[in-house]
């Protein structure tokens, strides 16, 4: 190191920025859960703007510069469009509960299965691999469109992107690990009007993705413990179910928050629920819904083979019943109970039909 000689003018220290720090003197302390995002929501740093004017991508609460470039093309810039009360907790939970498909699944428990069962499992894995593509791509798109002022909600979506990548990965691995292979794609995830990835509003997307789509898939993942033929499959489905439950929780809590903070949008949300119920609860995206290739595969697995297809199909109806019931209860939890009582929703009738 040189002797203490000051730098040339062009490298002089500029300390003017030190007089422009944001709110100062903050000492957030770790609680029993460590130092969480909730713990640092103190003072002005915890102020969530109802409408964000942050067009430069600055961290919430930092000092704005008048000359900063407005690089943010943030479509989502009002709190009610994306917020949920427990965003920070869901994010921290996601961080805590990550797992590895490479090392946390007991792949060594895979044993050769009868051809019909292996085919059915591989078809289902092909389907889930394809479906998780949607659940990974679409939240990612919305992260880029959302102001960083709502970083907690954005971070939950980032965690979902990670979760879905892991799901894509684990299903592909299962399909290629036990003497099978990938089967035919379902095509259920592409380009239908009103489908998840064509939504131009975040809540519209979330209603379809988190509440109806992932809610239905959650039930199927949980059922994996019944139709899984070995510990590897049962573990795979169980761990995916945990992640999926977190995504569903996002959807329920966001819808609840929106219903409470933007009541003028309730009728609009009801319309999204109308569409979601018509398409996703009965359409190709739900193997437990209308008869499709993946529902046939599910019936084979639930029965334990194609010769027990009928038994498996009956179990499929049990899945359907659970899906419908839990869907209704989630929408009720989200604050939209009326639709099941005033005849607007066809789901109660569908539920009754499965009794």
């Amino acid at each position: 190191m040189s002797e203490a000689t000051e730098m040339p003018r062009e490298h002089e220290i500029d300390t003017s920025w030190m007089d422009n720090m944001a709110e100062w003197g903050i000492t957030a302390k770790p609680g029993k859960r460590g130092l969480t995002l909730a713990d640092v929501q103190v003072g002005s740093y915890g102020d969530l703007p109802k409408v964000s004017d942050n067009m430069t991508g600055r961290p919430r609460g930092s000092t704005a510069r008048p000359e900063a470039y407005r690089v943010g093309a943030y479509q989502v810039h009002t709190l009610s469009e994306i917020w949920l009360e427990n965003a920070e907790y869901l994010y921290e939970e996601a961080l805590q509960r990550q797992w590895s498909s490479a090392t946390d699944i007991p792949w060594h428990t895979l044993k050769p299965l009868p051809d019909d069962v292996e085919e059915a499992e591989c078809l289902l894995c092909t389907f889930f691999n394809e479906v998780e593509f949607v659940a990974g791509d679409v939240p990612a798109r919305w992260i880029a469109r959302t102001t960083p002022d709502y970083l907690e909600a954005r971070n939950v979506l980032s965690a979902q992107v990670m979760d879905e990548a892991r799901h894509m990965d684990v299903f592909r691995k299962r399909a290629l690990a036990n003497g099978g292979g990938l089967m035919r794609m379902s095509g259920a995830t592409s380009g239908f009007v009103g489908s998840i990835d064509l939504a131009r509003d975040f809540t519209e997307m979330s209603t379809r993705l988190h509440i109806s789509g992932e809610g239905a898939v959650l039930t199927m993942f949980r059922m994996g413990e019944l139709f899984g033929q070995n510990d590897a499959e049962k573990t795979m489905y169980r761990l995916c179910a945990q992640d999926e439950a977190r995504h569903v929780a996002f959807g329920v809590m966001h819808l609840r928050c929106l219903g409470e903070t933007a009541p003028e949008r309730r009728e609009e949300i009801e319309c999204y629920l109308d569409e979601a119920e018509a398409q996703l609860m009965a359409g190709q995206q739900n193997p437990a819904g209308r008869q499709s290739e993946s529902s046939e595969a599910l019936a084979v697995l639930l029965g334990g083979g194609s010769e027990y297809y009928d038994e498996g199909h009956k179990k499929l109806l049990v899945i359907r019943r659970r899906q419908l019931k839990e869907y209704m209860k989630r929408v009720i939890s989200a604050g939209f109970a009326d639709r099941f009582e005033n005849g607007r929703s066809p789901v109660p009738a569908q539920y009754a039909a499965t009794a």
Partner: protein
């Protein structure tokens, strides 16, 4: 030798669960929730905070109403589940909490305030509860007659 169900039994399981991170499987992790166990005439309150089970105690019916969700099964099912854990070191795949829940029409978990969001916590934290009961393999257990 501890009798199931009893405060002592649950305390021993809690100690086993908290003492060895090897018992916490991948996909578990920190969670914060309260739950109730309804076992015959007995009620137990359990709380997870972070990576630990922070408390488990006998409680009243009113206490159960404050929990996020309650797991209720016939006594025979509780016994079968735990005997399976005792025999195999952990639950067999058809005797996990999830499997048992799926086999029953109404399931085994419910929210005392009938809030599906709360009931879904049974799904979100399923691995922790499973690990907890799997930890009972380290507690010599008898069953009340």
């Amino acid at each position: 030798m501890e009798v199931f169900p009893s405060q002592e039994w649950f305390q021993k399981v809690r100690e086993a669960y908290n003492s060895d991170r090897e018992l916490h499987s991948g996909g578990g992790g920190a969670c914060d929730t309260t739950a109730g166990f309804s076992i015959g005439e007995n009620r137990y309150f359990i709380e997870f905070a972070g990576l630990d089970c922070s408390q488990v105690r006998q409680c009243s019916e009113e206490d159960l109403a404050t929990t996020d969700f309650v797991i209720e099964m016939p006594m025979e099912t509780w016994r079968s589940m735990l005997q399976d854990v005792q025999k195999n070191g952990k639950a067999s795949s058809n005797m996990t909490l999830n499997s048992i829940d799926l086999e029953l029409e109404e399931g085994i978990a419910f929210s005392p305030i009938d809030d599906q969001y709360k009931q879904d916590l049974f799904y979100r934290y399923n691995q922790n509860f499973q690990d907890f009961f799997d930890a009972s393999s380290r507690v010599q257990t008898t069953f009340e007659s």
